[in-house]
């Protein structure tokens, strides 16, 4: 199997403060990988370094065997690396449709964009209903769907999803994970960051545990659920 994204000895930080220490990671094509860990220990930072929002201090990132370190965020998107950011970074003063159109920014041709939009509406019928509505007036769950749908518009090979369940009601989280499960069948490689592993265990092939900017453990979801020490120490559950 070929690796979709490969990270070797990555360090990064903000100013003088180092946040990620020597991270290495190899994700094979079509895999769903979850990263869990306590709040504020570098999970989101790792995604931002991967997507190019935050520069790495050292180390390398390869996509399909090609180094992408020097690329800016928008160039990485063009290579097929999609990040769905944490919270709702939707465009608040644009309609649902316009938000989706922005997702299709790199797509060529009206018909292609229409095809993708319709695909997203199929996946999220709620969004189709809300088509002309201004994004800021959507509910939290709808906005999260919009964020994911917008990400799907790019049709990239790799999707980095940052805390999809953050701040949502359990019912809505169920919906979000239904969608993620569907995504798994569509095929792109997924890297999902979550604070809590419970939901992730259902869809992930492999789970990494991050603490203080380092991976301290990795294994399959089954192994995780069997390791009570780990759960007690890090996840407090």
């Amino acid at each position: 199997m070929t690796s979709a994204i490969q990270v070797s000895n990555l360090t990064a930080g903000y100013g003088r403060r180092q946040v990620l220490h020597n991270i290495s990671l190899d994700i094979e094509e079509g895999m769903v990988v979850g990263i869990i860990g306590p709040n504020g220990h570098g999970k989101s930072s790792l995604l931002k370094v991967l997507s190019g929002l935050v520069p790495a201090t050292s180390g390398q990132v390869f996509m399909g065997g090609v180094a992408i370190d020097g690329m800016s965020a928008h160039q990485r998107v063009a290579k097929g690396l999609v990040q769905i950011p944490q919270g709702d970074l939707v465009f608040p003063d644009m309609t649902v449709e316009e938000n989706l159109l922005m997702g299709g920014y790199l797509a060529q041709g009206r018909t292609e964009i229409d095809r993708r939009v319709n695909k997203v509406y199929e996946m999220f019928p709620r969004l189709a209903e809300r088509r002309p509505q201004i994004a800021r007036t959507l509910s939290g769950g709808e906005r999260r769907m919009l964020g994911i749908g917008r990400g799907l518009m790019i049709e990239g090979q790799i999707m980095l999803i940052d805390e999809p369940s953050l701040g949502l009601a359990p019912k809505v989280i169920d919906m979000v994970y239904e969608v993620l499960a569907k995504l798994r069948s569509v095929s792109p490689t997924l890297l999902v960051v979550e604070e809590n592993p419970v939901r992730l265990q259902a869809i992930a092939d492999r789970i990494y545990l991050m603490d203080n900017g380092e991976f301290v453990w990795n294994g399959t979801p089954d192994e995780l659920s069997r390791n009570s020490d780990l759960i007690a120490t890090y996840l407090g559950a």
Partner: protein, 292 residues
Amino acid sequence: MDIFLQIIISGVSLGAMYAVGTIALSLLWGTMGMMNLAHGSFIAIGGYMAYWCMTVMGASWIFVLPLALAAGMLGGYLLYHLVVRWMFERKEFSVDIIIATVAVAALVENGLLNVAGPEAKRQPFSISGGLKLGDVVLPYQTILTVAVAIILMVIVLYIVTRTKMGIVIRAVSQQQVASQLMGVNVMSAFAQAMMLAGGVAAISGVLVTGATQLFPGVGFDTTIKALVICIIAGLGNLRGAIFMAFVLGLFEVAVQYIFGQQYGFPAMLSLVIVLLILRPHGLFGKETVERV
């Protein structure tokens, strides 16, 4: 009756000038959150291009607007790459850019002073005469200015709401990080926005100087009034701004007529103060959600 008509016509003339001068300012503010106090420089550049084209080169008036558009776009491009992009990421951008663009305005004014001289000039791209309505005259220049203001507004609105470029500019202004994650080159989107605004401002400069006169500091007054209008209309609300430009023009002229010329501007500013106290987000502005 004539007096009433006269007030309407003077008010519309003034309002047309305000309106045409407001569009570019409102555009930049609405998209980039940038209060461009160098707006007046673009107005002056447009005016001087017209003067240069028709008086110095002796060319036809046909070339004036394209030339002004090109000069304004170039100016917008330069302003973005030389100044704006360096401070855009800062937290205090909204204040920093005020000071920076004032410095740019002073620089441009000084340059024009040294190159073109301090004298007030007649800007030749204008129509004299007017339509006789009884004892009152509706100047053709006013009709032209109103027409161009509305055409510019329609074009700008079309670009911003209907074209890909417009959607991208709006997206970038609302959510930079997300735009990047959609594959948008934020820098070039802003450069485009500034070029559009620069071109529109330069064209408005041709109109404004045609109705008044041309000198290096010509844009300052228009800028101040345009700012006031944008604020009253609400952040970046282009349609509201155009509407308010005419309302304020009429209001100013009516006050001038009833209470005396000297009270026009202070009354307009007082109205702004009262409006802002009552409606802190402008008349047509939305309450923005504050980011924590």
